[in-house]
Symmetry: C2
Subunit: 208 residues, 2 copies
Amino acid sequence: MSEQWNKGRLATAAVVLPEGTTPTGTQGRVLHAALGLFAERGFHGTSIREIGAAAGINSATLYGYYSSKELVLAELVLVGHRELHRRLLDAVDGLTDPVEKLTALVRTHVFAHTDFSLLAVVTNSELHVLSAELAAPALALRAASEQLLLDVLADGVFDVPDARLAARAIGGMGQRVGNWFGPGQDHTREQVADAFVLFALRLAGVRA
Amino acid sequence: MSEQWNKGRLATAAVVLPEGTTPTGTQGRVLHAALGLFAERGFHGTSIREIGAAAGINSATLYGYYSSKELVLAELVLVGHRELHRRLLDAVDGLTDPVEKLTALVRTHVFAHTDFSLLAVVTNSELHVLSAELAAPALALRAASEQLLLDVLADGVFDVPDARLAARAIGGMGQRVGNWFGPGQDHTREQVADAFVLFALRLAGVRA
DNA sequence: GTCTATACGACGATAGAC
DNA sequence: GTCTATCGTCGTATAGAC
């Protein structure tokens, strides 16, 4: 499912959620509506009435699916973190060579941020709104994803002054992709991924 | 001026603004209060009453200094962009060697994000709230700062597949520093800057 | 400059009919 | 499942006294 949207803190991008693992029907429309609005205006900048209108239902009907606005955000944030973590796990599954692993992780990270840029923005920039209890599952997934990169970088094959700083640098450059990648921009997702893989390998001291 | 603060989307950091170029007295307290609250809860998550309380004045008194909440944010966003741009200009002033220029830019960029992490976070993540008119001056400064990096990277000495993608990558890794750097973390600002300079040089194809 | 008091619209959420 | 109607609260901003 997709829809064009006009944003503000990000490039124009389609409102897309991972398929198969997210609700369909009215509940799915609610999630998509909330995703677009949260990405554009932020959680506190979006009202329950606006979400309802964008989903084609009355705001009161929303409460049949989610008992608070915060729970809508919690679901989006969890979906985003789950999708990224699942993809990263799949990407390194079966690989043994550290360079191949780093390549796969960066490539996958970039694609997650190009293919689901709105979800990435919401997931990264609105998580802080959630209560500690609601944020916890997402934070655990985030820590696990970071550890995946950290383990690869600490493998010994690479030449970095500090694996944690290298992980922060690589993670940061990938995370920002969600803020600028979009249709009105002249690089393909593959070009970005290829370039960022090269950057990450060089950054980690791999000589081509 | 500084004060401890407890956040959520960023590490614990002091509420600091550049000195000399920002208001003092009550107006200064308003700006500092707003900076801490906007960083922690976001613009829409912060009320005029909370800003007043944190500044030690009644919310109505605020309107003697700023005629709307949006104008408070606009000033912070402008201060942040102005400070970064000024520092970047100073950093490369007089330099001719491209490698030295890139080194100075990255180092300065990192320091701006370690020394004014709250301002960096607000500046980068709440700018989208402003109307086009109020955002314009900050966006112009941002474009100028990006161009500074782009010009250096396009100098010919470096080996990158695409200077714009390299600039995005370097900018992204630096920008994220504001979200995790803080007192409760075991790297000094110099360690971060040294590491990120090395990363940026390698990324740009400079062999050490 | 700073306060108290207040206007008034928008907010999240609920009750109850269909 | 979805609606209309509404509750109580909190939002930004202003008026006017001191």
